[in-house]
């Protein structure tokens, strides 16, 4: 497994996180150049540890940003937001964190804990709460397992910091934090949940940072050979390529803190079945010729056929030539409790049953 992230690893980790982002989690190009700048300035590598290396009674906290990816590529962070959020939370609870946790491995949120870890001199746990990206706070294995989402802290680039001391449900945590994020300009650093090492080990999806690195390595190696990485990347995560084609339509609007929309991909050559995909920050459901072929929590990942780079929902546009991958969700997301929170019905598709792709992500 990954023991550190150095300058030479950032591109691969960013690509893998982008793929696992299934369209969301924030633009990984921006996350990567920020991470590289921190690595260069500080002259040390990011330390990565296994969840099982964390003592049961140590306190850890996840960190990332909240907001729509369409906002994140225009409103850059100042750089101090993670430290502000984490320090505010430490002050509030009166204890210090021993390690940082990736809240969602997908997209730039897979890289940001590495940045915060460098800024605070803390190791980052190899694993996360989603094995992908999801648009809402309550959609991780920590919340599903019953870890309280509060106290949590939001911070913006002006040093504004807010602690949600107690909220009586994960859905309210999502609702109130989202609303405040919109007020703060549409993106903000979010530190939560605070956990003990024991809770971390019970609920974390292990090894997802390592998986991101392996996926990125495959893409970069294929690119050197001039080969299409899609099949190899898919098989690395026990999935398959669902479709190859050209984006012919994108509807996208940024509303109430989310990038929402739909895209249509037409096949190359003579075939006439198109693929439709709907998204809320992340890709949610894929239809081929009108038939559902993949749904949340399974991962629907879009790769640029030119270079294997993942394409976030904020960058989808007419004419892109893409491969659509379907990867099976981690097993932790397929329990009845998890599916109630991250299955198709939770996203407004009650008529679509979850028909899992075979296998598991890891």
């Amino acid at each position: 497994m990954l023991r550190q992230v150095a300058l030479e690893d950032t591109h691969a980790v960013a690509i893998g996180a982008g793929i696992l982002g299934t369209g969301g989690g924030g633009n990984t190009y921006l996350g990567r150049i920020w991470l590289e700048q921190e690595l260069r300035q500080r002259g040390v590598n990011c330390t990565v540890i296994a969840a099982d290396d964390v003592a049961d009674d140590a306190m850890v906290c996840a960190i990332g940003t909240m907001g729509a990816p369409t906002v994140g590529i225009e409103k850059l962070l100042r750089g101090s937001e993670f430290v502000t959020a984490l320090r505010t939370l430490e002050d509030h609870i009166g204890s210090s964190f021993a390690a940082l946790v990736v809240s969602e491995i997908g997209g730039s949120n897979g890289l940001r804990p590495l940045i915060a870890g460098l800024q605070l001199g803390l190791p980052v746990v190899d694993g996360d709460g989603m094995g992908r990206a999801f648009p809402e706070l309550q959609m991780d294995t920590f919340a599903i397992g019953g870890v309280p989402l509060t106290p949590m802290a939001l911070a913006d680039s002006h040093g504004n910091a807010v602690v949600f001391h107690h909220l009586d449900s994960p859905l309210k945590a999502e609702q109130y934090a989202r609303s405040l994020t919109v007020e703060l300009g549409g993106s903000a650093a979010l530190a939560m949940p605070v956990m003990s090492g024991e809770q971390l080990k019970r609920f974390v999806i292990r090894g997802t940072l390592s998986l991101a690195k392996r996926m990125g390595d495959v893409v970069l190696a294929s690119r050197l050979r001039g080969a299409d990485a899609a099949d190899e990347v898919a098989s690395l995560a026990n999935g398959r390529v669902l479709f190859r084609g050209k984006v012919v339509d994108v509807e996208r609007r940024t509303t109430r803190g989310f990038a929402r929309g739909k895209l249509t991909i037409a096949p190359f050559g003579g075939a006439d079945e198109v693929m439709d995909i709907v998204f809320q920050n992340e890709n949610l459901v894929a239809w081929l010729g009108g038939e559902v072929v993949c749904t949340v929590p399974d991962l629907i990942c879009i790769l640029n056929l030119e270079d294997g780079e993942p394409i976030g929902t904020e960058l989808l546009r007419y004419g892109l030539r893409v491969a659509v991958l379907g990867l099976p969700a981690p097993i932790e997301l397929k329990t009845p409790e998890a599916l109630a929170v991250v299955g198709p019905e939770a996203f407004g598709y009650p008529a679509i049953p979850f028909q899992p792709l075979p296998g598991n992500l890891l």
Copy 2:
């Protein structure tokens, strides 16, 4: 001056606070019956102290509710909100409050610190930060004097509690807390600002709880005599009656956390000049026959001619027979720094200069 508030005082204090509320600050009938219930249940009176009785290094905090009065009369508080907000703030800053402060004497917010004082066993300072009610957080003498609004705490009836740890301007405090209040259902307990006794004494408007009591006493005495209390109440606060008439039109909408609107009052008898008043929770500007006769920060107070009871903007309706009082603002609200925050321009009337009524409230 007032040294305590007992059961026999509540009606007078509620009437006076209602008058000083200039239409806002929350319905005083509801505030009064809640205060009376707490007094009965606890069997002790509210202790009132002078600002000068607070030690320089003691910590005090103001408490009230945030929200539109139109919401406040429909969505009642559970009763535990003030304690939740104040305790959360004490936990966050790591020290205890020695006394509570009235953030705005106007409306039910003039009574709520008395309730919280009973619940927590704390005295309440005779004075406030407005000498009236204003719709927004930054509009008090503490904020105008430079006391930071953060940390501040919001709490709702479900035990949800949020600490605004640091916000870089009073306007952002207003914006973010208002937005969260709307999410919390349109009204919430708000504890802020945290001050030292030294800051309190520098910025508080002294004696406004006593003034409210005296105004209420005049109304109740007039009612017993069957007399119109308007002139006597006005002169008690160095003001005058601007108009008497019948409400003939009310436009009112609850939008983005405020009750906003306009009312028209027609004179009795043959005269044809009507009075128009616009409000944002509180009455802002009064025109008589198209001429401005009173503006913020001076107080525009509407009394029911039947019984002298003040009428909040949430209860204005066609047919009410009313007296409109104009009371001069406290001198603290008429400095250039204060007028920049609470003058007509701050409420969106840049073309209307503030032409103060003669004298001062106290």
